[in-house]
């Protein structure tokens, strides 16, 4: 079975990913974040804490860089020596980019992080041995390690706070790497419901926690394979191609008015999160 399988299907096993020849068949979850709409209010981050059982580590551990925010709001200033930050800040929600060619996946010694058929970058907590190579290799540093045993010895959820824990998401013990999952527990339910009804998940049927809470609707999430999905339309309109590491915007002058870009694309990670550039009025 095995060697024959290997030899017979050799070309399949040699297929690289991502590739134009083998597009995702049913689902490719993707996100787009409109930085012009994002106000940096942190609601997404708190919603993520609520949905995904993220531990609150406290001041001392935060100071040591042990924080867990799967989605974090970064705040950038214009650093050109101006007296006032008179064009405001640039807020950027950074979460796991669910790269199509994720650098974290190849380096995990135990294969705890893999690519799923839906185009997600899975992280299996129980398989993780905690070598932290994945985070070392993540250019976005969007992975968070359980440096301490938060549920037990650190007692992050003292009674009755533990009753709030989402039973659909594992509470991670010490020594495990974790990261944004695109709320996979919600996706699984939606997919299951759709499958029972013999259809695919409809656009808007499933929302990530950050998307659902976002007061300005800056985050859109959906299935890139679905032509009617908002996300797919956005990607298409912004001429951002999942399988390319250079987009029209970077190449042609005429596309300069497009806002869509992906972060650190030149590292050929093929992220599944597209950002739309922030805008600033020039008349004032």
């Amino acid at each position: 079975m095995s060697i024959t399988n290997l030899l017979e299907n050799w070309s399949d096993f040699r297929q690289q990913h991502p590739s134009e020849d083998r597009p995702h068949r049913e689902y490719k979850w993707a996100m787009s974040i409109d930085l012009d709409a994002c106000t940096g209010c942190n609601a997404c981050s708190v919603a993520c804490y609520a949905e995904n059982n993220l531990p609150v580590v406290g001041k001392e551990k935060f100071a040591h860089g042990h924080s867990h925010h799967w989605i974090r709001i970064e705040r950038y200033w214009d650093n050109d020596g101006r007296e006032f930050a008179d064009q405001g800040a640039q807020f950027l929600p950074m979460l796991c980019q669910q790269c199509e060619s994720a650098p974290c996946e190849t380096v995990c010694p135990v294969g705890a992080t893999n690519h799923t058929a839906d185009g997600l970058n899975s992280q299996v907590y129980n398989r993780c041995v905690g070598s932290r190579y994945c985070n070392a290799n993540c250019p976005y540093k969007a992975r968070y390690f359980n440096w301490y045993d938060y549920p037990t010895t650190d007692n992050v959820w003292p009674e009755p706070m533990n009753q709030q824990l989402n039973p659909d998401v594992t509470v991670r013990g010490k020594g495990v790497m974790e990261k944004c999952t695109f709320c996979v527990q919600r996706l699984t339910v939606a997919k299951s419901n759709a499958r029972s009804e013999g259809r695919s998940v409809l656009d808007g049927e499933v929302q990530t926690a950050c998307q659902q809470v976002c007061p300005t609707g800056a985050i859109s999430f959906g299935n890139l394979v679905d032509p009617s999905a908002k996300v797919g339309k956005q990607w298409k309109q912004q001429q951002v191609d999942l399988n390319k590491d250079k987009q029209a915007k970077d190449v042609t002058e005429s596309a300069a008015k497009l806002r869509g870009y992906r972060i650190l694309e030149e590292l050929r990670t093929y992220p599944s999160v597209m950002y739309l550039e922030q805008l600033r009025e020039s008349a004032i």
């Binding site: 860089g65 995990c108 993780c128 985070n135 070392a136 540093k141 992975r143 010490k174 020594g175």
Partner: protein, 454 residues
């Protein structure tokens, strides 16, 4: 300059001298052993604390996911390489001056590999799940990820360690037979009897021995190079700025040989004193060793420069920023200390007077290794501190005492293994010293002695 070894040492004297090292070393031996044990105690305490409390106590964080453990891991892996250099490469070269010193160098290889292996374990967040990394059929139906350089590491180190142990052991069989023949009671007798496998030095044994030894030596050379190349790919395969460098594998190998040679010098001096090996570990041999070290130091310096140059002239601005940060940021003192210890200090070794001045050599060789340890740390920490993503930069991270304690203790662990080895097994290869003496005296017989030094 004097001779590598006196040709007129009686062979029985060789046996006697070396066997004596198994019995009664100087007092310093016991002092070293005690200190080593105390150091291990520190490390074990730290590890227990870390194991129960979580990796957080080592004060790494989400930016600095690796710390001293990996740095010291590479350091120990590197240390192991010179044993192979001395025993395998020089063996193929028929450089017979290696003979009195290769055994302990080979032992150093083995034990530093064992020490390095521990760091992989210490470093894991979930040590109790380490069996997930092992490739064996299991009820989960999953295998480790063979694409991960860490798995390559595991394969490479396992191969290297087992091959080194075999090489050390095979090469020691005739000596074990000597021990067996000269020790007449106690557990040692049993041990040597079993381990010498009934070696009698017959022509058949010697014939197969010779070819086997040569073959393993041939295997070990590419293996050693591949091991440190693979360790280098832990870094070079990743996309961290400062790591993604094509010259990393040779750079690592050179660094490995360098630190190994320095360590051999250190151990040479210590063993020579502790076990009274003045007759065998002679100053002319030391001189050759020092010259070798000097040459490797210059190779390392060159590769260091070529790495900087390729980063500097490359198009990768991130990597360049990283290099500038390394040289000017908070890690600058360590970076420049590494340059000083690694490239400037070895220039001293070019002076003849120093080449045989043991106290100075002791200090210098230790400092060289400090430099090489810093090199490994300077590969890891600055890249994490100043990676691709400015938001998560962290320039202030400093390893906690737990990390330092375990690193500190690893030296004790190595010393303990090494010193116990030297006490139980002959740390100078008796039969090969005899060969050396034999061949040299033959040469003397047939050729007139060349005047003067060479």
């Amino acid at each position: 300059m004097g001779k590598d070894i006196r040709e007129d040492i009686a062979w029985a004297q060789i046996n006697k001298d070396v066997l004596k090292s198994l019995e009664s070393p100087r007092k310093l031996y016991w002092v070293i052993l005690f200190i080593a044990l105390a150091m291990i105690g520190v490390a074990v305490g730290c590890e227990i604390y870390q194991y129960t409390g979580g990796m957080g106590v080592s004060n790494k964080n989400n930016s600095h996911v690796w710390g001293l453990y990996i740095a010291t891991f590479i350091f120990w892996i590197g240390m192991s390489h010179s044993g192979t250099l001395l025993s395998a490469i020089l063996h193929l070269m028929h450089a017979d001056w290696r003979k009195p010193i290769y055994r302990f160098a080979e032992a150093m290889t083995t034990f530093s590999l064992m020490t390095a292996g521990l760091f992989v374990l210490v470093h894991l967040g979930r040590l109790w799940q380490v069996y997930y990394v092992m490739p064996y059929p299991n009820e989960r139906w999953v295998w480790p990820n063979f694409q991960s350089p860490l798995v390559w590491d595991m394969f490479a180190i396992a191969t290297y360690l087992s091959s080194s142990v075999l090489f050390l052991y095979v090469g020691m069989i005739p000596d074990l037979a000597i021990c067996r023949d000269n020790i007449h009671a106690g557990w040692r007798k049993k041990l040597y009897t079993v381990m010498s496998l009934g070696w009698e030095g017959t022509d058949r044994q010697w014939r197969n021995f010779r070819i086997t030894y040569l073959t393993i030596a041939c295997f070990l050379i590419p293996l050693a190079v591949s091991v440190h190349s693979i360790v280098a790919s832990d870094f070079a395969m990743s996309n961290m700025p400062g790591w993604h460098v094509t010259s990393f594998p040779p750079y690592f190998v050179a660094g490995a040989l360098y630190s190994g040679c320095a360590a051999i010098i250190t151990l040479f001096i210590i063993l020579r004193y502790v076990f009274r090996f003045e007759e065998y570990m002679t100053l002319p041999i030391m001189k050759k060793l020092v010259r070798l070290t000097f040459a490797i130091a210059m190779v390392w310096t060159y590769l260091n420069l070529i790495e900087f140059a390729s980063v500097w002239y490359g198009h990768d601005q991130t990597a360049k920023d990283q290099l500038i940060f390394k040289a000017t940021g908070p890690y600058a003192p360590f970076f420049w200390a590494m340059i000083f210890f690694g490239s400037i200090l070895p220039l001293m070794l070019a002076f003849k007077r120093i080449q045989t001045h043991l106290p100075i050599l002791l200090v210098v060789s230790i400092l060289l290794n400090v430099g090489m340890w810093l090199e490994r740390w300077m590969i890891i920490a600055p890249s994490f501190a100043h990676g691709h993503y400015p938001w998560t930069w962290d320039h202030d991270q400093w390893p906690s005492l737990v990390q330092w304690g375990i690193v500190f203790g690893s030296f004790g662990w190595f010393t303990l293994l090494f010193m116990v080895f030297c006490k139980v097994f002959p740390s100078v290869s008796m039969y090969e010293v005899k060969e050396m003496v034999y061949h040299r005296s033959l040469a003397l017989k047939h050729k007139p002695a060349v005047k003067g030094d060479y």
